[in-house]
Protein backbone atom coordinates (compact mmCIF):
# COMPACT_ATOMS: atom_id res chain seq x y z
CA UNK A 1 0.00 0.00 0.00
CA UNK A 2 2.77 2.40 0.92
CA UNK A 3 4.63 1.73 -2.31
CA UNK A 4 1.42 2.11 -4.24
CA UNK A 5 0.61 5.50 -2.71
CA UNK A 6 4.13 6.81 -3.10
CA UNK A 7 4.39 5.64 -6.67
CA UNK A 8 0.94 7.02 -7.38
CA UNK A 9 2.00 10.44 -6.09
CA UNK A 10 5.26 10.25 -8.04
CA UNK A 11 3.24 9.33 -11.09
CA UNK A 12 0.88 12.24 -10.63
CA UNK A 13 3.84 14.58 -10.30
CA UNK A 14 5.61 13.45 -13.42
CA UNK A 15 2.22 13.13 -15.09
CA UNK A 16 1.51 16.78 -14.35
CA UNK A 17 4.76 17.66 -16.16
CA UNK A 18 3.66 15.60 -19.13
CA UNK A 19 0.23 17.19 -18.98
CA UNK A 20 1.57 20.75 -18.86
CA UNK A 21 3.86 20.10 -21.81
CA UNK A 22 1.11 18.20 -23.63
CA UNK A 23 -1.17 21.22 -23.32
CA UNK A 24 1.30 23.23 -25.37
CA UNK A 25 1.47 20.60 -28.11
CA UNK A 26 -2.27 20.29 -28.14
CA UNK A 27 -3.12 24.01 -28.16
CA UNK A 28 -0.74 24.77 -31.00
CA UNK A 29 -1.89 21.73 -32.95
CA UNK A 30 -5.53 22.63 -32.43
CA UNK A 31 -5.18 26.11 -33.87
CA UNK A 32 -2.36 25.62 -36.38
CA UNK A 33 -2.59 21.91 -37.26
CA UNK A 34 1.14 21.99 -36.60
CA UNK A 35 3.14 19.78 -34.27
CA UNK A 36 5.51 22.19 -32.64
CA UNK A 37 8.54 19.93 -32.33
CA UNK A 38 10.44 22.76 -30.67
CA UNK A 39 8.01 22.65 -27.77
CA UNK A 40 9.89 20.02 -25.76
CA UNK A 41 13.05 22.06 -26.12
CA UNK A 42 11.28 25.19 -24.96
CA UNK A 43 10.36 23.18 -21.87
CA UNK A 44 14.04 22.36 -21.37
CA UNK A 45 15.02 25.97 -21.97
CA UNK A 46 12.51 26.93 -19.29
CA UNK A 47 14.14 24.52 -16.90
CA UNK A 48 17.56 26.07 -17.60
CA UNK A 49 16.19 29.59 -17.27
CA UNK A 50 14.78 28.70 -13.86
CA UNK A 51 18.12 27.11 -12.97
CA UNK A 52 20.02 30.26 -13.87
CA UNK A 53 17.64 32.47 -11.92
CA UNK A 54 18.08 30.25 -8.88
CA UNK A 55 21.88 30.13 -9.24
CA UNK A 56 22.14 33.89 -9.59
CA UNK A 57 19.37 34.52 -7.11
CA UNK A 58 20.58 32.10 -4.44
CA UNK A 59 22.78 34.86 -3.10
CA UNK A 60 20.16 37.56 -2.77
CA UNK A 61 16.61 36.68 -3.95
CA UNK A 62 16.59 33.66 -1.69
CA UNK A 63 18.13 35.75 1.10
CA UNK A 64 15.44 38.40 0.84
CA UNK A 65 12.38 36.40 -0.12
CA UNK A 66 13.27 33.05 1.35
CA UNK A 67 13.48 29.74 -0.47
CA UNK A 68 9.85 29.83 -1.63
CA UNK A 69 10.21 33.41 -2.82
CA UNK A 70 13.16 32.29 -4.90
CA UNK A 71 11.10 29.45 -6.36
CA UNK A 72 8.29 31.85 -7.22
CA UNK A 73 10.68 34.26 -8.92
CA UNK A 74 12.31 31.44 -10.89
CA UNK A 75 8.92 30.13 -12.02
CA UNK A 76 7.66 33.55 -13.05
CA UNK A 77 10.84 34.46 -14.89
CA UNK A 78 10.94 31.14 -16.73
CA UNK A 79 7.28 31.31 -17.72
CA UNK A 80 7.52 34.88 -19.00
CA UNK A 81 10.84 34.26 -20.73
CA UNK A 82 9.71 31.07 -22.42
CA UNK A 83 6.34 32.56 -23.33
CA UNK A 84 8.23 35.26 -25.18
CA UNK A 85 10.59 32.64 -26.64
CA UNK A 86 7.48 30.85 -27.95
CA UNK A 87 6.39 34.04 -29.71
CA UNK A 88 9.87 34.43 -31.18
CA UNK A 89 9.85 30.84 -32.44
CA UNK A 90 6.49 31.45 -34.10
CA UNK A 91 7.76 34.66 -35.65
CA UNK A 92 11.05 33.39 -37.06
CA UNK A 93 10.47 29.68 -37.66
CA UNK A 94 6.80 29.36 -38.56
CA UNK A 95 5.26 32.59 -39.78
CA UNK A 96 7.55 32.92 -42.83
CA UNK A 97 6.58 29.43 -44.04
CA UNK A 98 2.84 29.23 -43.19
CA UNK A 99 1.91 29.65 -46.82
CA UNK A 100 4.33 26.97 -47.96
CA UNK A 101 2.19 24.12 -46.60
CA UNK A 102 2.56 21.64 -43.79
CA UNK A 103 5.77 19.82 -44.64
CA UNK A 104 8.04 22.89 -44.65
CA UNK A 105 6.49 23.79 -41.30
CA UNK A 106 7.39 20.40 -39.86
CA UNK A 107 10.96 20.71 -41.14
CA UNK A 108 11.18 24.19 -39.69
CA UNK A 109 9.87 22.87 -36.36
CA UNK A 110 12.48 20.10 -36.28
CA UNK A 111 15.19 22.60 -37.12
CA UNK A 112 14.06 24.86 -34.31
CA UNK A 113 14.12 21.91 -31.92
CA UNK A 114 17.73 21.09 -32.82
CA UNK A 115 18.67 24.75 -32.67
CA UNK A 116 17.31 25.21 -29.17
CA UNK A 117 18.71 22.01 -27.66
CA UNK A 118 22.14 22.75 -29.16
CA UNK A 119 21.84 26.32 -27.99
CA UNK A 120 21.27 25.06 -24.45
CA UNK A 121 24.31 22.82 -24.79
CA UNK A 122 26.42 25.70 -26.07
CA UNK A 123 25.40 27.99 -23.23
CA UNK A 124 25.14 25.65 -20.25
CA UNK A 125 27.32 22.80 -21.43
CA UNK A 126 26.67 19.15 -22.27
CA UNK A 127 26.82 17.82 -18.70
CA UNK A 128 24.16 17.57 -16.07
CA UNK A 129 23.57 20.76 -14.14
CA UNK A 130 22.37 20.56 -10.58
CA UNK A 131 19.72 22.91 -9.27
CA UNK A 132 21.37 24.65 -6.28
CA UNK A 133 20.36 22.52 -3.27
CA UNK A 134 19.95 25.48 -0.94
CA UNK A 135 17.46 27.02 -3.35
CA UNK A 136 15.25 23.94 -3.27
CA UNK A 137 12.73 23.79 -0.43
CA UNK A 138 13.71 20.72 1.54
CA UNK A 139 10.79 20.25 3.93
CA UNK A 140 9.24 16.79 4.06
CA UNK A 141 5.79 15.88 5.25
CA UNK A 142 5.03 12.50 6.78
CA UNK A 143 1.66 10.83 6.76
CA UNK A 144 2.21 7.71 8.79
CA UNK A 145 5.02 5.97 6.98
CA UNK A 146 4.33 7.82 3.72
CA UNK A 147 6.77 10.63 3.15
CA UNK A 148 6.29 13.34 0.60
CA UNK A 149 8.43 16.39 -0.03
CA UNK A 150 6.63 19.69 0.25
CA UNK A 151 7.97 20.75 -3.13
CA UNK A 152 6.25 17.75 -4.68
CA UNK A 153 2.99 18.66 -3.03
CA UNK A 154 3.33 22.26 -4.20
CA UNK A 155 4.20 21.05 -7.70
CA UNK A 156 1.02 19.01 -7.80
CA UNK A 157 -1.23 21.72 -6.41
CA UNK A 158 0.14 24.49 -8.61
CA UNK A 159 0.16 22.33 -11.74
CA UNK A 160 -3.35 21.01 -11.24
CA UNK A 161 -4.57 24.50 -10.30
CA UNK A 162 -3.11 26.00 -13.45
CA UNK A 163 -4.57 23.21 -15.54
CA UNK A 164 -7.97 23.91 -14.01
CA UNK A 165 -7.52 27.58 -14.88
CA UNK A 166 -6.60 26.80 -18.48
CA UNK A 167 -9.49 24.37 -18.73
CA UNK A 168 -11.90 27.02 -17.48
CA UNK A 169 -10.46 29.65 -19.79
CA UNK A 170 -10.60 27.52 -22.93
CA UNK A 171 -13.81 25.61 -22.27
CA UNK A 172 -15.97 28.07 -20.36
CA UNK A 173 -15.25 31.63 -21.52
CA UNK A 174 -16.13 33.48 -24.71
CA UNK A 175 -12.43 33.93 -25.38
CA UNK A 176 -11.97 30.16 -25.12
CA UNK A 177 -14.86 29.64 -27.52
CA UNK A 178 -13.06 31.98 -29.92
CA UNK A 179 -9.90 29.87 -29.62
CA UNK A 180 -11.83 26.67 -30.29
CA UNK A 181 -13.76 28.26 -33.15
CA UNK A 182 -10.48 29.36 -34.75
CA UNK A 183 -9.18 25.82 -34.40
CA UNK A 184 -12.28 24.44 -36.14
CA UNK A 185 -12.70 26.88 -39.00
CA UNK A 186 -10.48 29.90 -39.40
CA UNK A 187 -12.50 31.56 -42.17
CA UNK A 188 -15.77 31.41 -40.31
CA UNK A 189 -14.04 32.57 -37.13
CA UNK A 190 -12.82 35.58 -39.11
CA UNK A 191 -16.41 36.28 -40.13
CA UNK A 192 -17.26 36.44 -36.42
CA UNK A 193 -14.63 39.17 -36.09
CA UNK A 194 -11.99 36.98 -34.46
CA UNK A 195 -8.44 38.00 -35.32
CA UNK A 196 -6.75 34.62 -35.71
CA UNK A 197 -3.30 36.17 -35.45
CA UNK A 198 -4.09 37.07 -31.85
CA UNK A 199 -5.27 33.53 -31.15
CA UNK A 200 -2.01 32.21 -32.62
CA UNK A 201 -0.01 34.52 -30.35
CA UNK A 202 -2.07 33.32 -27.39
CA UNK A 203 -1.33 29.63 -27.98
CA UNK A 204 2.34 30.31 -28.72
CA UNK A 205 2.70 32.26 -25.49
CA UNK A 206 0.62 30.20 -23.08
CA UNK A 207 1.74 26.77 -24.33
CA UNK A 208 5.49 27.36 -23.88
CA UNK A 209 4.88 29.23 -20.59
CA UNK A 210 3.13 26.16 -19.19
CA UNK A 211 5.99 24.03 -20.46
CA UNK A 212 8.49 26.30 -18.73
CA UNK A 213 6.65 25.87 -15.46
CA UNK A 214 6.88 22.10 -15.83
CA UNK A 215 10.57 22.53 -16.64
CA UNK A 216 11.35 24.45 -13.47
CA UNK A 217 9.29 22.07 -11.34
CA UNK A 218 11.10 19.11 -12.90
CA UNK A 219 14.41 20.69 -11.93
CA UNK A 220 13.19 21.38 -8.40
CA UNK A 221 11.85 17.85 -7.94
CA UNK A 222 14.66 15.85 -9.52
CA UNK A 223 17.54 18.25 -8.95
CA UNK A 224 19.46 17.60 -12.16
CA UNK A 225 18.83 18.75 -15.71
CA UNK A 226 20.56 18.11 -19.01
CA UNK A 227 20.40 19.80 -22.39
CA UNK A 228 18.42 17.05 -24.14
CA UNK A 229 15.76 17.03 -21.44
CA UNK A 230 13.36 18.39 -24.04
CA UNK A 231 13.72 15.28 -26.11
CA UNK A 232 12.87 12.76 -23.38
CA UNK A 233 10.06 14.77 -21.80
CA UNK A 234 8.89 16.11 -25.13
CA UNK A 235 8.45 12.63 -26.54
CA UNK A 236 6.52 11.42 -23.50
CA UNK A 237 4.38 14.54 -23.45
CA UNK A 238 3.71 14.17 -27.15
CA UNK A 239 2.70 10.57 -26.47
CA UNK A 240 0.37 11.84 -23.76
CA UNK A 241 -1.12 14.29 -26.24
CA UNK A 242 -1.89 11.50 -28.69
CA UNK A 243 -3.14 9.27 -25.86
CA UNK A 244 -5.65 11.89 -24.76
CA UNK A 245 -6.59 12.97 -28.28
CA UNK A 246 -4.62 15.78 -29.89
CA UNK A 247 -6.21 19.19 -30.21
CA UNK A 248 -8.37 19.08 -27.12
CA UNK A 249 -7.50 20.48 -23.74
CA UNK A 250 -9.00 17.94 -21.34
CA UNK A 251 -7.44 15.17 -23.44
CA UNK A 252 -3.93 16.56 -22.96
CA UNK A 253 -4.42 16.83 -19.21
CA UNK A 254 -5.89 13.36 -18.75
CA UNK A 255 -3.39 11.82 -21.17
CA UNK A 256 -0.48 13.36 -19.30
CA UNK A 257 -1.61 12.38 -15.82
CA UNK A 258 -2.54 8.87 -16.93
CA UNK A 259 0.79 8.35 -18.64
CA UNK A 260 2.70 9.50 -15.58
CA UNK A 261 0.73 7.31 -13.19
CA UNK A 262 0.96 4.21 -15.40
CA UNK A 263 4.67 4.68 -15.85
CA UNK A 264 5.27 5.17 -12.15
CA UNK A 265 3.16 2.23 -10.99
CA UNK A 266 4.85 -0.03 -13.51
CA UNK A 267 8.20 1.19 -12.29
CA UNK A 268 7.25 0.55 -8.67
CA UNK A 269 5.77 -2.90 -9.07
CA UNK A 270 7.35 -4.45 -12.15
CA UNK A 271 10.44 -2.88 -13.61
CA UNK A 272 11.94 0.55 -13.99
CA UNK A 273 13.95 -0.43 -17.02
CA UNK A 274 10.87 -1.53 -18.93
CA UNK A 275 8.56 1.29 -17.99
CA UNK A 276 8.80 3.08 -21.32
CA UNK A 277 8.15 -0.15 -23.20
CA UNK A 278 5.05 -0.63 -21.09
CA UNK A 279 3.85 2.93 -21.68
CA UNK A 280 4.19 2.66 -25.43
CA UNK A 281 2.49 -0.74 -25.45
CA UNK A 282 -0.45 0.82 -23.66
CA UNK A 283 -0.43 3.66 -26.17
CA UNK A 284 -0.49 1.23 -29.09
CA UNK A 285 -3.29 -0.76 -27.48
CA UNK A 286 -5.38 2.34 -26.89
CA UNK A 287 -4.83 3.63 -30.39
CA UNK A 288 -5.95 0.31 -31.84
CA UNK A 289 -9.22 0.58 -29.92
CA UNK A 290 -9.61 4.36 -30.09
CA UNK A 291 -7.50 5.79 -32.93
CA UNK A 292 -8.47 9.34 -32.03
CA UNK A 293 -7.25 9.01 -28.45
CA UNK A 294 -9.22 8.79 -25.22
CA UNK A 295 -11.16 12.04 -25.65
CA UNK A 296 -10.57 12.34 -29.34
CA UNK A 297 -14.02 11.87 -30.86
CA UNK A 298 -14.46 15.61 -31.21
CA UNK A 299 -11.44 15.80 -33.45
CA UNK A 300 -12.56 12.84 -35.50
CA UNK A 301 -15.87 14.53 -36.15
CA UNK A 302 -14.04 17.51 -37.59
CA UNK A 303 -11.54 15.60 -39.69
Amino acid sequence: MRIFLEQFLNGLTIGSFYALVALGYSMVYGVMKLINFAHGDLFALGSYLGYTVLVIGAGWITQVLGVWGGVAVALTAAMLGIGIAGLVVERIAYRPVYKAGRLPLVVSALGMSIFISNGIMAIWGPRFQAYPPDAIPSAILSFGDIKITVIKLVTLIVSLGLMALIYWMVEKTLFGAAVRATALDRDTATLMGIDFRKIILFVFFVGPALGAMAGVFAGLNYGRIIFNLGWTYGLKAFTATILGGIGNIPGAMIGGLLLGVMESLFEGFVSGAWKSVFVFLVLIAILIVRPTGLIGEKVAEKV
Binding site: A177, A178, L184, D187, T188, T190
Partner: protein, 248 residues
Protein backbone atom coordinates in the same frame (compact mmCIF):
# COMPACT_ATOMS: atom_id res chain seq x y z
CA UNK B 1 -33.26 55.85 -47.38
CA UNK B 2 -29.68 56.14 -48.50
CA UNK B 3 -27.42 53.72 -50.24
CA UNK B 4 -26.23 50.98 -47.90
CA UNK B 5 -23.95 48.96 -50.07
CA UNK B 6 -22.40 49.81 -53.37
CA UNK B 7 -20.13 47.54 -55.33
CA UNK B 8 -18.34 48.87 -58.35
CA UNK B 9 -16.48 46.99 -61.05
CA UNK B 10 -15.53 44.17 -58.70
CA UNK B 11 -13.01 41.74 -60.15
CA UNK B 12 -11.94 38.60 -58.33
CA UNK B 13 -9.59 35.93 -59.66
CA UNK B 14 -8.98 32.39 -58.53
CA UNK B 15 -5.55 31.82 -59.98
CA UNK B 16 -5.92 32.42 -63.69
CA UNK B 17 -9.69 32.08 -63.61
CA UNK B 18 -11.76 35.22 -63.41
CA UNK B 19 -14.57 34.44 -60.99
CA UNK B 20 -16.06 37.93 -61.02
CA UNK B 21 -15.50 39.99 -64.13
CA UNK B 22 -16.41 43.49 -63.08
CA UNK B 23 -19.61 43.47 -61.07
CA UNK B 24 -21.51 46.53 -59.97
CA UNK B 25 -24.51 46.49 -57.71
CA UNK B 26 -26.23 48.73 -55.27
CA UNK B 27 -28.46 48.21 -52.30
CA UNK B 28 -30.60 50.61 -50.27
CA UNK B 29 -30.96 50.76 -46.48
CA UNK B 30 -33.52 48.30 -45.22
CA UNK B 31 -33.70 46.44 -48.49
CA UNK B 32 -33.70 42.78 -49.39
CA UNK B 33 -31.72 42.19 -52.54
CA UNK B 34 -31.40 38.78 -54.15
CA UNK B 35 -28.44 37.61 -56.19
CA UNK B 36 -29.39 34.63 -58.31
CA UNK B 37 -27.56 32.41 -60.67
CA UNK B 38 -26.43 28.88 -61.41
CA UNK B 39 -23.60 27.02 -59.67
CA UNK B 40 -20.29 28.67 -60.41
CA UNK B 41 -21.81 31.95 -61.53
CA UNK B 42 -19.85 33.74 -58.79
CA UNK B 43 -22.56 34.32 -56.20
CA UNK B 44 -20.62 32.98 -53.22
CA UNK B 45 -17.47 34.68 -54.46
CA UNK B 46 -19.32 37.98 -54.41
CA UNK B 47 -20.22 37.58 -50.74
CA UNK B 48 -16.73 36.35 -49.89
CA UNK B 49 -15.30 39.40 -51.61
CA UNK B 50 -17.50 41.68 -49.52
CA UNK B 51 -16.28 39.86 -46.39
CA UNK B 52 -12.74 39.90 -47.72
CA UNK B 53 -12.31 36.14 -47.48
CA UNK B 54 -11.05 36.27 -51.06
CA UNK B 55 -8.58 38.66 -52.52
CA UNK B 56 -10.05 41.49 -54.55
CA UNK B 57 -8.19 42.17 -57.78
CA UNK B 58 -9.87 45.49 -58.49
CA UNK B 59 -13.02 47.44 -57.86
CA UNK B 60 -14.51 48.97 -54.73
CA UNK B 61 -16.99 47.91 -52.09
CA UNK B 62 -18.52 50.63 -49.94
CA UNK B 63 -20.77 50.33 -46.92
CA UNK B 64 -22.61 53.60 -46.23
CA UNK B 65 -20.02 55.33 -48.36
CA UNK B 66 -17.07 53.88 -46.46
CA UNK B 67 -14.54 51.90 -48.45
CA UNK B 68 -14.31 48.45 -46.90
CA UNK B 69 -10.85 47.74 -48.29
CA UNK B 70 -9.23 49.75 -45.51
CA UNK B 71 -10.40 47.22 -42.91
CA UNK B 72 -8.80 43.83 -42.33
CA UNK B 73 -11.29 40.99 -42.72
CA UNK B 74 -11.71 40.40 -38.99
CA UNK B 75 -12.83 43.98 -38.41
CA UNK B 76 -15.77 43.82 -40.81
CA UNK B 77 -17.99 42.23 -38.17
CA UNK B 78 -17.40 45.21 -35.91
CA UNK B 79 -18.49 47.72 -38.56
CA UNK B 80 -21.73 45.92 -39.20
CA UNK B 81 -21.19 43.20 -41.81
CA UNK B 82 -22.56 39.79 -40.81
CA UNK B 83 -21.98 36.92 -43.19
CA UNK B 84 -23.90 33.66 -42.91
CA UNK B 85 -21.73 31.43 -45.07
CA UNK B 86 -22.76 28.77 -47.52
CA UNK B 87 -23.15 25.39 -45.86
CA UNK B 88 -23.99 27.10 -42.51
CA UNK B 89 -20.49 26.54 -41.07
CA UNK B 90 -21.63 26.36 -37.48
CA UNK B 91 -18.83 25.46 -35.05
CA UNK B 92 -19.78 21.81 -34.64
CA UNK B 93 -18.08 21.06 -31.33
CA UNK B 94 -19.23 24.25 -29.65
CA UNK B 95 -22.64 24.48 -28.05
CA UNK B 96 -25.51 26.29 -29.70
CA UNK B 97 -25.20 29.07 -27.18
CA UNK B 98 -21.43 29.40 -27.67
CA UNK B 99 -22.03 29.68 -31.40
CA UNK B 100 -24.55 32.45 -30.84
CA UNK B 101 -22.28 34.23 -28.38
CA UNK B 102 -19.39 34.16 -30.84
CA UNK B 103 -21.62 36.13 -33.19
CA UNK B 104 -21.17 39.03 -30.77
CA UNK B 105 -17.37 38.83 -30.77
CA UNK B 106 -16.83 41.61 -33.29
CA UNK B 107 -19.14 44.02 -31.47
CA UNK B 108 -18.46 42.95 -27.88
CA UNK B 109 -17.00 46.35 -27.05
CA UNK B 110 -19.84 48.26 -28.69
CA UNK B 111 -22.96 46.56 -27.37
CA UNK B 112 -23.63 45.97 -23.70
CA UNK B 113 -24.66 42.63 -22.27
CA UNK B 114 -28.30 43.66 -21.80
CA UNK B 115 -28.66 44.63 -25.42
CA UNK B 116 -27.14 41.33 -26.50
CA UNK B 117 -29.45 39.44 -24.17
CA UNK B 118 -32.44 41.23 -25.71
CA UNK B 119 -31.32 40.34 -29.22
CA UNK B 120 -30.76 36.77 -28.10
CA UNK B 121 -34.30 36.58 -26.75
CA UNK B 122 -35.57 37.84 -30.09
CA UNK B 123 -33.55 35.16 -31.91
CA UNK B 124 -34.95 32.52 -29.56
CA UNK B 125 -38.45 33.76 -30.43
CA UNK B 126 -37.65 33.47 -34.13
CA UNK B 127 -36.18 30.01 -33.66
CA UNK B 128 -37.58 28.44 -30.48
CA UNK B 129 -35.68 25.23 -31.19
CA UNK B 130 -32.40 27.06 -30.56
CA UNK B 131 -33.51 27.89 -27.03
CA UNK B 132 -34.43 24.26 -26.36
CA UNK B 133 -31.09 23.05 -27.66
CA UNK B 134 -28.84 25.81 -26.48
CA UNK B 135 -26.63 23.50 -24.41
CA UNK B 136 -26.33 20.94 -27.20
CA UNK B 137 -23.31 20.78 -29.50
CA UNK B 138 -24.10 22.53 -32.77
CA UNK B 139 -22.92 19.50 -34.73
CA UNK B 140 -25.79 17.46 -33.33
CA UNK B 141 -28.43 19.75 -34.84
CA UNK B 142 -30.25 18.88 -38.05
CA UNK B 143 -29.41 20.78 -41.22
CA UNK B 144 -32.38 23.09 -40.85
CA UNK B 145 -31.58 23.82 -37.22
CA UNK B 146 -27.95 24.52 -38.11
CA UNK B 147 -29.15 27.00 -40.71
CA UNK B 148 -31.30 28.70 -38.08
CA UNK B 149 -28.31 28.82 -35.75
CA UNK B 150 -26.11 30.28 -38.50
CA UNK B 151 -28.68 32.99 -39.18
CA UNK B 152 -29.09 33.67 -35.47
CA UNK B 153 -25.32 33.92 -35.08
CA UNK B 154 -25.32 36.52 -37.84
CA UNK B 155 -28.23 38.48 -36.42
CA UNK B 156 -27.04 38.69 -32.83
CA UNK B 157 -24.53 41.44 -33.64
CA UNK B 158 -27.37 43.62 -35.01
CA UNK B 159 -25.54 44.04 -38.32
CA UNK B 160 -26.08 46.85 -40.79
CA UNK B 161 -26.12 44.25 -43.52
CA UNK B 162 -26.73 40.52 -43.37
CA UNK B 163 -25.10 38.49 -46.13
CA UNK B 164 -27.02 35.25 -46.54
CA UNK B 165 -25.38 32.60 -48.69
CA UNK B 166 -27.74 29.88 -49.94
CA UNK B 167 -29.80 29.53 -46.77
CA UNK B 168 -32.06 26.95 -48.42
CA UNK B 169 -29.23 24.72 -49.66
CA UNK B 170 -29.88 21.05 -48.95
CA UNK B 171 -32.99 21.61 -46.87
CA UNK B 172 -36.31 19.81 -47.14
CA UNK B 173 -39.05 21.90 -48.81
CA UNK B 174 -40.88 22.49 -45.54
CA UNK B 175 -37.71 23.89 -43.97
CA UNK B 176 -37.03 26.04 -47.01
CA UNK B 177 -40.50 27.47 -46.46
CA UNK B 178 -39.67 28.11 -42.80
CA UNK B 179 -36.32 29.76 -43.54
CA UNK B 180 -37.84 32.15 -46.06
CA UNK B 181 -40.68 32.96 -43.68
CA UNK B 182 -38.07 33.95 -41.10
CA UNK B 183 -36.07 35.98 -43.61
CA UNK B 184 -39.19 37.99 -44.28
CA UNK B 185 -39.91 38.24 -40.57
CA UNK B 186 -36.48 39.57 -39.56
CA UNK B 187 -36.75 42.13 -42.30
CA UNK B 188 -40.27 43.20 -41.29
CA UNK B 189 -39.65 43.21 -37.52
CA UNK B 190 -36.20 44.73 -37.29
CA UNK B 191 -35.68 46.22 -40.72
CA UNK B 192 -32.52 44.16 -41.25
CA UNK B 193 -30.98 44.77 -44.68
CA UNK B 194 -30.29 41.49 -46.40
CA UNK B 195 -28.18 40.57 -49.38
CA UNK B 196 -29.47 37.14 -50.27
CA UNK B 197 -27.63 34.71 -52.53
CA UNK B 198 -29.83 31.86 -53.71
CA UNK B 199 -30.28 29.14 -56.27
CA UNK B 200 -33.94 28.94 -55.40
CA UNK B 201 -34.90 31.88 -57.60
CA UNK B 202 -38.63 31.58 -57.08
CA UNK B 203 -38.38 31.79 -53.30
CA UNK B 204 -35.72 34.46 -53.37
CA UNK B 205 -37.68 36.73 -55.70
CA UNK B 206 -40.65 36.11 -53.43
CA UNK B 207 -38.97 37.92 -50.52
CA UNK B 208 -36.62 40.30 -52.29
CA UNK B 209 -37.45 43.76 -53.60
CA UNK B 210 -34.73 43.80 -56.20
CA UNK B 211 -32.74 41.11 -57.92
CA UNK B 212 -29.50 40.59 -59.81
CA UNK B 213 -28.82 37.59 -61.96
CA UNK B 214 -25.24 36.46 -62.31
CA UNK B 215 -23.98 34.46 -65.23
CA UNK B 216 -20.34 33.34 -65.31
CA UNK B 217 -19.07 36.26 -63.27
CA UNK B 218 -21.14 39.00 -64.85
CA UNK B 219 -24.49 40.53 -64.11
CA UNK B 220 -26.79 39.36 -66.87
CA UNK B 221 -30.07 40.91 -65.82
CA UNK B 222 -31.19 43.06 -62.93
CA UNK B 223 -34.36 44.76 -61.91
CA UNK B 224 -37.15 44.88 -59.34
CA UNK B 225 -38.10 41.39 -58.19
CA UNK B 226 -41.65 41.72 -59.43
CA UNK B 227 -40.36 42.57 -62.87
CA UNK B 228 -37.78 39.74 -62.88
CA UNK B 229 -40.48 37.23 -62.03
CA UNK B 230 -42.26 38.18 -65.23
CA UNK B 231 -39.11 38.39 -67.36
CA UNK B 232 -39.24 35.68 -70.02
CA UNK B 233 -35.51 34.97 -69.90
CA UNK B 234 -35.55 34.63 -66.13
CA UNK B 235 -38.61 32.43 -66.21
CA UNK B 236 -37.02 30.15 -68.76
CA UNK B 237 -33.64 29.83 -67.14
CA UNK B 238 -34.29 30.12 -63.40
CA UNK B 239 -37.94 29.69 -62.61
CA UNK B 240 -38.39 26.47 -64.54
CA UNK B 241 -41.22 27.98 -66.55
CA UNK B 242 -42.40 26.85 -69.93
CA UNK B 243 -39.83 27.36 -72.59
CA UNK B 244 -40.03 30.66 -74.33
CA UNK B 245 -40.78 30.38 -78.00
CA UNK B 246 -38.34 32.39 -80.08
CA UNK B 247 -40.08 35.44 -81.48
CA UNK B 248 -41.04 35.06 -85.09
Amino acid sequence: MGTLLSVENLVVNYGAVEALKGISLEMQEGDIVAVLGANGAGKTTLLKAISRLVHIRSGTIKLRGEDLSKFPAHQLASIGVAHVPEGRKVFATLTVEENLNLGTWGVRNQINAQEIQKTKEWIFRLFPVLRERRRQLAGTLSGGEQQMLAIGRGLISKPKILLLDEPSLGLAPILVQEIFRVIRQIHDEEGVSILLVEQNARKALGVARYGYILETGKIAIHGPAAQLKEDERVKAAYLGGTRVQPAK
